[in-house]
Amino acid sequence: MLKKMYNWIDERLDITPMWRDVADHEVPEHVNPAHHFSAFVYCFGGLTFFITILQILSGMFLTMYYVPDITNAYKSVDFLQHEVAFGVIVRGMHHWGASLVIVMMFLHTLRVFFTGSYKAPREMNWVVGMLIFMVMLGLGFTGYLLPWDNKAYFATKVGIQIAASVPLLGPYIETFLQGGSITGAQTLTRFFALHVFFLPGALFALLAGHFIMIRKQGISGPL
């Protein structure tokens, strides 16, 4: 049945070469844990991507209940966590995944660093990777405020104060992030917009670049 459906589409659109091109590629011996167990260090990039997918998924579902507004944010989070079925699991996924994605990304970065994979001709991919790192930290920072509890509020206040200490530009960055002169209603909507539209948009573009480059250049050789 599935085979028939696939064939029907393939006859018309010739999709086989498309996915073959994406999926069929050699895995060199030195990155295959079946040959050298130590090669497991090469899995952190993939794990980062997998957790990112889960973050996008759980985040999309969380917005079905979440309201980015100072009177309702905390109440809606409380509601979705305690009164909606599996709310604890879905919010838990997003909560723990947020930390895990940064851990995985850090391990991936260490692997790339210690195997020297950032060297020519892959310098651009290293730079894109660093940009992804910053976007991820931005996602973490903006997402932290959204539950609008005390921890979120004061963590954001501290974060914004740090940003405000930048020479010359500091006060401007502060006003831009806060959307005003205090951490309040405008900060919350602003962080929400950054967290669910702007930063994910940037993340997708950077990830696409990251993956296209790795396919084009291939995995770096053994040590």
Binding site: I53, L54, M60, F79, A85, M93
Partner: protein, 177 residues
């Protein structure tokens, strides 16, 4: 003896078994599907929760004992918890409950369909056995049928009888007239 042994491996070449490639693609596909499927399942259950929650809006509220209801409409008050997500509040409602000729219990809302005043059974001496609105003299029959002024019959509460108690749901357009 040795001849028999030699034949065995030959046969095994034609065994109809899974190829290495098939086995690997099934295990990889299976674990991939598991890794994405389980989180997706939780998320989908989370999203469709409103579909599976009992409809609190139309929930029946215990109002009065059946034995208290007579042919003559009487006014009863009851409280309903209105829940809208994380917004909850108790609201007091009024209902005129009575029995019809065949003994069926029915309940009407006292909110006049003209401009929203509160109607009363026998509210005026001039019109007996009718609902009367003091504001603009709108009148309704015992079944809630509009006689003058009002553009529509009185709303009706769906009724449920259980263990000798009358339970009412939320108002809907009158079905008796």
């Amino acid at each position: 003896m040795s001849g028999e042994h030699n034949e065995q491996p030959k046969k095994s070449v034609f065994r109809k078994e899974m190829s290495r490639r098939q086995f690997l693609s099934y295990t990889l596909g299976g674990s991939g599907a598991f890794m994405v499927g389980v989180p997706l399942l939780y998320n989908v259950r989370f999203a469709v929760d409103p579909l599976l929650k009992p409809d609190a809006d139309g929930e029946y509220v215990k109002v009065v004992e059946v034995s208290e209801v007579t042919q003559e409409p009487q006014s009863f008050q009851f409280e309903r918890l209105i829940v809208d997500g994380w917004y909850k509040n108790d609201t007091t409602f009024e209902a005129w409950i009575s029995k019809d000729e065949s003994g069926n219990i029915f309940a009407l809302s006292p909110v006049c369909k003209h401009l929203g005043c509160t109607v009363k059974w026998n509210g005026s001496q001039d019109f007996s056995d009718e609902y009367f609105c003091p504001c603009h003299a709108a009148r309704y029959t015992k079944d809630g049928k509009n006689l003058t002024v009002a553009p529509a019959p009185l709303d009706e509460y769906p009724v449920k009888i259980e263990d000798g108690w009358v339970y009412l749901s939320t108002t809907k357009p009158n079905s008796r007239v």
